[in-house]
Homo-oligomer: 405 residues x 2
C-alpha cells in the first residue's frame, strides 16, 4: 500500500518548523516526508543584517539542515525549485522532479525593487548568506582601497541604505557600530565616512510607536547616520543614487556602496506556478491552504494573512512563519489520518523588537514599550526562541546569543 | 652657534637603524636630527607577503615610529618627499621643505614593471601596508562574490602571481595556506581555485641552491600551485594576463587577481633629484656617500653595492639596509665631530631564508642548507632580529614571532 508523500519546499523558519513538527508527529509507515532546500543549511534571515555589516560571522547565522532533521524520517533533497505543477502534483527542480500528495510552499521572500532603475544591477541586498558576506566584503574592500589610491575618493566611504523599515534600521544599527572598527583597521578618518539612510515614506519605521522611532533615530544620528526621509530613490547607478528632492529637482549622491533594504515580496516561483498572488504572496484560507487546492499549503513570506483589526496584511515575519508551520504540520497530520476538520491559523503577536546594534534596541513586548538594554535583551530572547523552536536547547547552546546586558 | 642638521629620509630598515643609532651616539648639543617619513609608522617590508595573503594582520607588521625614537633627540616630520635639491641642500616635501647639512636617503624601493602593458593599472603589488591590505581584501572579495553570482565565474578564483623570486615564492607560501581557509569561509570548492605562478626566467628562485629550489617547488605544487616557468607576461588586462607561449603563440589566462611580485627598483625621487642611477639605485662609495656629494649618504634599496666575488650587485635586502644604517650613522657622527676618516661598508651576509608559509621554509644560514621546520625557525629568528636591532627586546616582545616549531 502506498503511503502519502508530503513535500516541503524551503528550509526557512516556516518550512523547517513544519518539517521538525511532522517528524515528531508522523510515523514512518504513515507518510513519506521530503524536504527540499537550495542549500544544505538553514540561515536566520532575521540575523542577516549582522552578517552583512560584519558584526556577526555568517557561520553563526546558519546551521546544517541535517543537524535538526531526522534522516530516518525525512528525505532531504538539495535543489532549487523552478515551478510547481499543481495539475500533475509535482515540483520541478533545476535538478529533477519531485511528486507530492501534500505540498507545503515555504520558499520565503525575494527583494522587491519596485522597478527602480539600476537597483537590481548595482545595489547590494541583505537577502541570504551569499549576499550578506558579499556586502560585508564589499564595504571592507572600499575601505581597504581608500588609502591605496593616490587620489583619495571620499565617495568610497559613503554608504547609502535605501529603506528605513525594519531591515534598514537594524542594518544601520550594526553598520554604525562597525564603521569605527573599519576606520581603525584601514587608517581612515571617521569624519570622511558618510552613512545615509534614504526613505521614501514620511517616517522611519512606519507603524512603530513614535516615541520609539525618535529614540532609534536619535541613537543612529548620534553615531553619525544621516536620514533623508520622504525622499525617493529614482535610480541606482554604478556611482551611487539619484534621488528626487522636492517636486522637480534631482540630486545625485555618490556612494561606493548602495544597499537596498526597502522591501520584500513573495518568491517568484509563486507567480511562475500560476498561483493568484499579490507581489508573490497568496491570500491563503484560514487553514493555510490555497483556495481551490486542498493539497497545497502556503506559509511564511509567500502567504498573505489579513489582520482583521486594521484590515491590512500582517507583515511577513519569522514569528508568523513559525506559527504557521506549527498549524500546517497539524493540519497535514489530520489529512494523512483521513480527518476533515482543519485548524485555523490565528497569529499570536507576542512583540516586535528592532535591534540598534549589539546592546541597544527598541520594541514592544507584550504591549510594553522597551528601549536600550532591556529591549536588546528581549531581542536576544526572541532570537534564541527561534532556535529553540526548531532544534531545542541543544541548538540554542550551539548557535544562541548570550552576550546579554 | 649653529649645530649641524642631519636629515634622514625614510623610516624603513635602513633609515630607522640610522636614526636609532644616531640618537644614542649624538648629544643634543652636537647635532639636530630630523627623520622624515610618509607614514607615522614603520612597516616590515619583508613581512608584507603575509599581510597580503591575509595570514598575518597588517597591524602585526607595523609599529609607530614614535615607539622607537626619542622625540627629545629626533624631530619627526610626517611628509612625502618630492625631490632633493642637492645644490641648495634642502629636501622638497609635498608639505614643505627641510634643509640639511647631512642627508641620509633611505627611501626604499618601488615596483619595477619593466614597461609591461597594463601591470601598473590592473596588477596588485606587495609594496606597503596600503597595498597589502587591499590585495588581501581583493582576494577575499573575489571569493565572497563567487557564490553570490547566479552564473559562476571560475576565473574569479584564479590568482596569477607574476614572479618566482623571493617575494613571489614567499607570497605563494602564505597564499597556498590561506586558500583552504577562504574555501571554507565562502563555501567554495577547493578544486575550482587556481594559483598560477608565471616566471620569465628559466628557474624558480634564481641564485638559490637547486636542491632547495626543488624542495620549494614540490612543496608549493603539493598545495596546488601551478608553475609556468620560462614564460613572460606580455600584458595585464582587467580580465587577466596574456603570456608568450613559445616563440609566436600568445595565451590568455583569465584571472580575478593578478599580483606583480617580479621586481623592484630604487625610489623615483632618486632620478627626479638628478642622481646618476641604474633603475633608481645609486652606486655609492664604500663609505656609502654619493660620489661628488660628501654630505649625502644613500643606503638600502636606493643604493647599489657590487659583490666583488661575482662582480654583480648585491640584491636589495633588509639585512644589507640595516648594516648600512649602522655604518652611515657612525660615519655621520665622525663628520659631525670633524673627523675625516670614513668607515667602509662591508656586507656580512649571515644567511638567506625564504619562507614557504607558517611552518615551512628553505634557506642557507652560515653556509648550511636548511629546509622545513628548522628553516622556518631560522626565518623567525631573522624576523625577530630585525625588531631587536631597531627597538631592543621590548619591540621583539611586542611584535615578534614566537609560534615556532
Amino acid at each position: 500500500m502506498r503511503i502519502p508523500k508530503i513535500v516541503i519546499l524551503g528550509a526557512g523558519y516556516g518550512g523547517l518548523i513544519t518539517a521538525v513538527r511532522l517528524q515528531k508527529m508522523v510515523g514512518v509507515n504513515e507518510a513519506e516526508i521530503v524536504l527540499v532546500n537550495k542549500n544544505d543549511y538553514h540561515y536566520e534571515t532575521t540575523w542577516l543584517h549582522e552578517a552583512s555589516a560584519g558584526t556577526l560571522h555568517h557561520d553563526r547565522v546558519r546551521y546544517d539542515v541535517d543537524s535538526v532533521i531526522d534522516r530516518h524520517k525525512i528525505e532531504f533533497v538539495q535543489g532549487t525549485v523552478v515551478e510547481v505543477n499543481k495539475e500533475e502534483k509535482k515540483v520541478i527542480l533545476e535538478q529533477g522532479e519531485v511528486t507530492y500528495d501534500y505540498l507545503v510552499i515555504a520558499l520565503g521572500a525575494e527583494p522587491e525593487t519596485f522597478g527602480i532603475k539600476g537597483l537590481k544591477e548595482f545595489a547590494f541586498g541583505i537577502t541570504n548568506i551569499n549576499s550578506a558576506r558579499q556586502l560585508r566584503e564589499h564595504i571592507e574592500y572600499q575601505f581597504a582601497t581608500y588609502n591605496f589610491e593616490e587620489e583619495k575618493k571620499d565617495e568610497r566611504l559613503t554608504i547609502v541604505v535605501g529603506g528605513a523599515g525594519f531591515t534598514g534600521i537594524e542594518f544601520l544599527g550594526e553598520l554604525s557600530n562597525r564603521i569605527p572598527e573599519l576606520c581603525k583597521e584601514y587608517d581612515v578618518d571617521f569624519n570622511k565616512v558618510r552613512v545615509i539612510c534614504v526613505e521614501a515614506a514620511p517616517t522611519v519605521l512606519p507603524g512603530f510607536d513614535p516615541e520609539l522611532v525618535n529614540y532609534a533615530v536619535a541613537t543612529l544620528e548620534r553615531r553619525g547616520v544621516e536620514f533623508m526621509i520622504g525622499t525617493a530613490i529614482k535610480e541606482c547607478t554604478p556611482e551611487g543614487i539619484i534621488v528626487a528632492k522636492g517636486e522637480n529637482e534631482l540630486l545625485e549622491i555618490k556612494a561606493g556602496t548602495v544597499v537596498w533594504a526597502a522591501g520584500v515580496r513573495g518568491h517568484s516561483v509563486i507567480e511562475k506556478s500560476g498561483f493568484e498572488a499579490m507581489r508573490g504572496r497568496v491570500k491563503v484560507q484560514p487553514d493555510l491552504r490555497v483556495p481551490g487546492f486542498n493539497d497545497i499549503f502556503i506559509i511564511g513570506d509567500c502567504s498573505l494573512i489579513i489582520n482583521e483589526e486594521i484590515n491590512r496584511p500582517y507583515p511577513p515575519t519569522a514569528q508568523i512563519a513559525m506559527q504557521q508551520g506549527e498549524v500546517a504540520a497539524r493540519n497535514i497530520v489530520a489529512l494523512v489520518r483521513g480527518k476533515e476538520e482543519m485548524e485555523s491559523f490565528v497569529p499570536d503577536i507576542k512583540g516586535t523588537v528592532c535591534s540598534l546594534g549589539e546592546d541597544d534596541a527598541i520594541g514592544v513586548v507584550y504591549g510594553k514599550k522597551l528601549t536600550g538594554g532591556k529591549a536588546s535583551f528581549m531581542k536576544k530572547v526572541i532570537d534564541n526562541r527561534a532556535l529553540f523552536m526548531v532544534g531545542g536547547a541543544g541548538l540554542v547552546l550551539k548557535k544562541g546569543k548570550f552576550n546579554v546586558l
